[in-house]
């Protein structure tokens, strides 16, 4: 056994196992007592009572993808910010708060400039891209 104690991760593993158990157990238990009379109509996807036209798996608008990209960038930013934010208090107590404040400021402001750029160019507008791409927009609206 190694010197550091990993027992703190026990609840995580137990909880994940319990989630599987609760979900699987209730489904299995239900499987024993619930009716099962499938027919073709019952198994069609709901489309307002009509027969489904084509597959739902169509090309989606690029704007969802852009949002995911911007999200990852801010995600990484937060992953970098968390440890620095965690030591800020300590640094402040030993009198190094000023330099750390400066570095946090420049770090955030560089990213904010990117956000402002996107804002000015209209990349954050949901509707503008909606107007400039009429074919795609009608598809997912």
């Amino acid at each position: 056994m190694s010197t550091f104690n990993l027992d703190v991760y026990m609840p995580v593993v137990i909880l994940i196992a319990l989630a599987l158990l609760v979900a699987g157990g209730s489904l299995l238990l239900g499987g024993l007592i619930r009716p099962h009379n499938p027919n073709k109509l019952k198994e069609t996807a709901y489309e307002c009572g009509e027969e489904p036209v084509g597959s739902a798996w169509a090309n989606f608008n690029v704007r969802f993808y852009v949002i995911a990209l911007i999200f990852i960038i801010f995600d990484v930013e937060s992953a970098l910010m968390f440890p620095v934010a965690a030591v800020f208090k300590k640094f402040n107590q030993i009198g190094l708060g000023g330099t750390l404040l400066l570095s946090v400021f420049s770090f955030v402001l560089i990213l904010v400039s990117g956000l402002i750029y996107c804002w000015k160019k209209g990349d954050l507008d949901w509707v503008k891209s909606f107007n400039s791409q009429p074919q795609l927009a009608t598809k997912d609206k």
Binding site: V8, M10, L15, A23, P35, I67, F71, F105, D140
Partner: protein
């Protein structure tokens, strides 16, 4: 460091004795085994309580909505209809399980599991009290963010797998909404981490006190705004109204779980209601003082001093008070969440994105910088203590 419910319980003599006895009987160090058993029991309790709260959440939702709309609400099953959620659960289990023929079966079955795993795993760091916290991980709040993001994947896959247009649109919207609003929420959390100086739930709550003026909510103007940013963002992250676009019934039928029936739908609903509790708990922990009780009642030291109580008994009493404090605040927020749902109309998709990217995110970044400046300028003192000091110094001059 990394204190857990086992650390707390091992203060009592019985557990130590049991560990020693087991070590002798089994011939190896049984502390890990005992820890596992304790964790398993406590996890079972937590999951049981949370599932009940999730179930009662659906009942509360219906009853409160009925109140707000001058209806009676469920009143047949049990006194005041309080057993309605059990009846609903039995109904869910008994319902036929339909998987659409065009669906991607593997993903269809997996999606509710993912949602449930994501929500249950976050329960590990929810701070019910200083002792009764499953694991106070060093990376507590960050871990919670990571696990909660599984729900987004589950929502998306649920929508995708059904191969229904409504589900697909709902899943797409749901996932993009969840990830968008995670950004203002995360940045607000960073600003609180800045104030507290640590990521673990214990540190985050430890910087606060039992009285409202010691909460981070009233620490400085920026954290006050931050609370509302965080609360709005969590509403959106849990797909609650007014951000329930993924399941907007007037336009998307039922969104990502349109094709889900019976227990599979029930698992989505259970995950959603527990997640609402978890985010309310996090908001409580970050801004409303968490489990802190006024006058040091939580540690029980005052009881030992004044009443001459047994130390362990006083500690346990303090834990119960702390759990009460945490649950009171969290359930209060839970009520607000339900109240908001039945009060505000739903946003449009473009409004949703505008709110996130043009209002919440810039304000959250501003708050982060504001908190940093406040920490630097006032040595991390809260606005209350600053006012108190200045008043005291003015009074001292006279």
């Amino acid at each position: 460091m990394n204190s857990t419910v086992v650390t707390y319980l091992s203060q009592s003599k019985e557990l130590t004795l049991a560990t020693e006895w087991l070590t002798k009987a089994l011939g190896f160090n049984a502390s890990s085994l005992v820890a596992f058993i304790v964790f398993a029991v406590v996890c079972l309790i937590v999951v049981g309580v949370m599932s009940t709260i999730g179930g009662l959440g659906t009942y509360a939702e219906r009853k409160i909505s009925a109140d707000l709309q001058m209806r009676v609400g469920p009143n047949r099953v049990g006194p005041y209809g309080i057993l309605q959620f059990l009846a609903d659960g039995v109904k869910m289990i008994l319902k036929e399980d339909i998987i659409p023929s065009g669906a991607d079966r593997f993903t269809f079955i997996l999606a509710p599991f993912l949602c449930l795993i994501g929500v249950f795993a976050t329960l590990a760091v929810v701070p019910f009290s200083s002792g009764f916290m499953l694991a106070d991980l060093n990376v507590g709040i960050f871990y919670l963010l990571g696990m909660a993001s599984l729900v987004g994947v589950g929502v998306f896959l649920g929508g995708y797998a059904s191969n229904s247009k409504w589900s697909m649109l709902g899943g797409m919207r749901g996932a993009s909404q969840i990830i968008s609003y995670e950004i203002p929420a995360t940045i607000t959390i960073i600003s609180i981490v800045l104030l507290a100086g640590g990521l673990s739930m214990g540190t985050l709550i430890g910087g606060q006190g039992g009285m409202p003026q010691q909460w981070y909510l009233f620490h400085n103007p920026f954290s006050f705004i931050g609370f509302f940013i965080f609360f709005i963002a969590s509403l959106a992250e849990t797909n609650r109204a007014p951000f329930d676009l993924p399941e907007a019934e007037s336009e998307l039928v039922s969104g990502y779980h349109t094709e889900y029936s019976g227990m599979r739908f029930g698992l989505f609903a259970l995950a959603e209601y527990i997640e609402v509790f978890v985010v309310c708990g996090v908001a409580t922990a970050l801004f409303l003082g968490g489990y802190k009780v006024p006058f040091d009642l939580g540690t029980g030291s005052i009881l030992v001093e004044k009443l001459g109580m047994d130390e362990m008994l006083a500690k346990n009493l303090g834990q119960i008070l702390e759990i009460g404090s945490f649950f009171t605040k969290t359930l209060g927020l839970y009520y607000v969440v339900i109240w908001v749902r039945w009060t505000l109309p739903r946003l449009r998709v473009d409004q949703l994105m505008t709110l996130c990217w043009k209002y919440l995110t810039p304000i959250a970044i501003f708050n982060l910088l504001g908190c940093a400046v406040w920490m630097y300028a006032f040595d991390g003192k809260s606005i209350y203590s600053l006012l108190f000091e200045s008043v005291a110094s003015v009074a001292g001059h006279h």
